[in-house]
């Protein structure tokens, strides 16, 4: 096969080999097609409008190896320390993209939910994925999605039963570790909620020992009528690593999605969050928080398609950028011609803490219906001097007051998250990132 460029050829070569599911004709076919798509597309370049501000050159220039499943081990205590503390969750752990059974709570099947790792399903029950895998996420969404579709070999399959509420959150912990050479993992997550099923799922990406690895994850979510899913993505990769992630959601009538997107780590992070509201009464909340400094680059592209009338979306993204950090936010909202009574609210607020930090923020509204309420607003600024003065006038010293306001800015995003232990942990985590952390502890 002839690929579009040398990088694509090299990446394809590097990733060859057997994978669970190869024996299934339809999986093999899906992969072949995706390889062909990637060969045509290659990695996205900056001539593509959606990638205008984000260069993938740093990824192209590296030679990522394919990690073997045998390497999926790590010290249990160290893994434990990476978890969200005090969170009572059913947990699957992945090391460099491979399921680590010894570190996980294992497969779970009860009357509310079935949780399995993808490699197992691909090997034993590939037909169960038919019409679901690569359905919400088309392989050609981007070169990265094609790459993931072609080479994903593990991840999670979560099936939520009709009319059931899964009480404990499900935590998927993806740990990227330091190996002899940089590696690329392509985890794939499939979440399928039957009608009126409810669950909370946390994808948690974390780097250990500063690897320069690439994580290229794709998540697909199907919400049947009345289903309610809270989906969290917490990205704390190594500051030297690369993280590409996309979430693709299809929503039926009266379903509700909450998508919380926290981006803290990685040298380069790009997430795409896409939701299609395909029937009346469907609603979506996007809640995002990015905290970056140094030379970090964080790019979020979101899309909400209001394909039917009476659908609602609310989107609020907040970011704090320091040092030479660079942020990109692009929020696209599409309202189909007959999708009357659509309500779509979008906001993106940014604090730039240094003169060198930068953010490009842009709403993109494509509204073809007339009876709709769509609002959007973006702010880029420094701390509110009125609030700063108010705190100082109460005796809080300048530095602490500044830290408090930064914390409070982030807290507005954190407080929307329903999982209390996660909220508490993130609050502490955000404080640690701020100057004079010790002085801030007493306020929260």
């Amino acid at each position: 096969m002839k690929a579009v460029d040398e990088t694509a050829t090299r990446m394809l070569d590097r990733l060859q080999g057997e994978r669970p599911g190869d024996a299934s004709d339809w999986i093999a076919g899906l992969r072949r097609d995706a390889v062909a798509r990637f060969a045509e597309m290659g990695l996205p370049n900056q001539r593509i409008e959606d990638w205008k501000y984000t260069s993938t050159k740093a990824i192209a220039k590296r030679d990522f190896a394919r990690p073997d499943a045998a390497g999926a081990t790590a010290d249990a205590n160290r893994i434990e320390a990476l978890r969200v503390p005090d969170l009572d969750a059913h947990r699957l752990v992945f090391i460099n993209g491979h399921y680590a059974a010894a570190l996980s709570d294992g497969e779970m099947t009860d009357d509310a939910v079935r949780v399995r790792n993808l490699a197992q399903v691909l090997a034993e029950d590939p037909d169960a994925l038919k019409d679901r895998l690569a359905d919400a996420a088309p392989a050609d969404f981007s070169g990265f999605t094609a790459l993931n579709t072609a080479f994903a070999e593990d991840g999670a399959v979560i099936e939520i039963a009709a009319d059931r509420r899964v009480e404990r959150p499900i935590e998927l912990l993806f740990v990227s570790t330091l190996r002899d050479e940089a590696i690329a993992a392509h985890p794939r997550i499939l979440i399928d909620a039957a009608h009126h099923g409810e669950a909370t799922i946390i994808e948690h990406y974390v780097g250990m020992d500063d690897p320069q690895n690439l994580t290229n994850a794709v998540t697909e979510v199907h919400l049947a009528e009345g289903a309610r899913v809270a989906h969290y993505r917490v990205q704390r990769e190594s500051r030297k690593g690369f993280h590409i992630g996309s979430v693709h959601v299809n929503q039926a009538a009266n379903s509700r999605l909450e998508q919380h997107n926290v981006q803290i780590g990685a040298a380069l992070c790009r997430t795409d969050i896409n939701t299609a509201l395909n029937a009346e009464g469907a609603e979506t909340l996007y809640n995002g928080l990015y905290l970056v400094n140094g030379r970090q680059h964080v790019d979020t592209h979101t899309r909400i398609n209001h394909n039917q009338p009476n659908t609602t979306s609310e989107e609020a993204y907040r970011g704090i950028l320091d040092g030479y950090a660079r942020g990109v936010f692009n929020g696209r909202v599409y309202v189909a011609p007959h999708a009357q009574k659509t309500a779509a609210y979008q906001s993106n607020d940014n604090l730039l803490l240094s003169g060198k930090a930068e953010i490009d923020t842009k709403p993109e509204l494509e509204i073809y219906a007339d009876d709709v309420v769509c609002t959007h607003g973006a702010t880029v600024g420094q701390l509110d001097t009125r609030a700063l003065f108010y705190l100082r006038s109460r005796g809080v010293d300048h530095e602490t007051a500044r830290g408090l306001l930064l914390y409070a800015f982030a807290e507005a995003a954190i407080e929307r998250m329903g999982v209390e232990p996660l909220r508490n942990w993130l609050q502490g985590f955000v404080i640690e990132e701020l100057p004079h952390a010790d002085r801030l502890q007493e306020f929260v």
Binding site: R392, F443, V444
Partner: protein, 256 residues
């Protein structure tokens, strides 16, 4: 004679090249309550903010001393530690910062400045609850973020509540009575009355006689065009209520 608690001499201040205060003089002794009245835009809030240390204003001339110290040299937080308190005309909402933790930190910052240890948590809470009750505030306010989602009147009451807990030496209250219903006005007035003390000075900025009916001010000043144009006893407030500010301008012209 002892030094006035607050002494403002020939104060000139501007913001973005606009001259706002133009030679303002004011002296307030410990134990006294002074009211400042004056038309919109005359510089009342500017004065209040300058006393608290807001740096949007540039003082171009004059001096301000508090307990004999040069106030203008101090950072806003130092002034707070020394006992200056401003009840804001428009209290700021600060989502994510807990109301009571802020207050506790404020108390401790002041104590630290005085060389005292941190306040005992139980003592603090007892004091806070008692004062909230006086201000007719529900205990649920303990858990809320600073002013977030408070109604206009609740914000004003919260300011007075903070003031009662912090026990400042100089209270500057900027239109704390605006936007209050009749009952809340009484509560706020009682709060101020309770704060009256021989070692404390209170400066009330107000537009209305009705607050002054509850609190008998020792002096009333009229601020206009950045100066104190007229001072008198509480009778002056009544005359203003009756005749408006034009009457003073007329008098001024007469005497000029």
């Amino acid at each position: 004679m002892t030094e006035p608690m607050l002494k403002i001499t020939n104060l000139h201040a501007k913001a973005e090249d606009a001259e706002i205060l133009r030679g303002l003089n004011l002296e307030v002794n410990a134990g006294e309550v002074h009211a400042i009245m004056g038309p919109n835009g005359s510089g009342k809030s500017t004065l209040a903010h300058i006393l608290a240390g807001r740096d949007d204003y540039e003082v171009t001339e004059g001096s301000v001393t508090y307990k004999g110290q040069d106030l203008l040299e101090m950072e806003p937080e130092e002034r707070a530690h020394e006992g200056v308190f401003l009840a804001f005309q428009y209290p700021v909402e600060i989502p994510g910062v807990n109301n009571i933790y802020l207050l506790k930190s404020a108390v401790n910052a002041k104590r630290k400045h005085q060389g005292l240890g941190e306040i005992d948590s139980v003592d603090f809470l007892t004091d806070v609850k008692q004062k909230m009750k006086l201000m007719g505030m529900d205990e649920s306010f303990l858990k809320r973020s600073v002013n977030e989602g408070f109604s206009g009147g609740e914000k004003k009451r919260n300011e007075v509540f903070q003031m009662m807990v912090l026990e400042p030496g100089l209270c500057v209250m900027d239109e704390t009575d605006s936007g209050l219903d009749i009952d809340a006005l009484k509560i706020v007035a009682q709060g101020v009355e309770q704060m009256r003390s021989p070692d404390r000075a209170i400066v009330l900025v107000t537009h209305y006689q009705r607050l002054l009916d509850h609190i008998q001010p020792d002096r009333v000043h009229v601020l206009a065009r950045g100066q104190v144009l007229k001072s008198g006893d509480k009778q002056l407030a009544h005359e203003l209520e009756e005749h408006g500010y034009d009457w003073i301008r007329y008098e001024e012209a007469e005497s000029a």
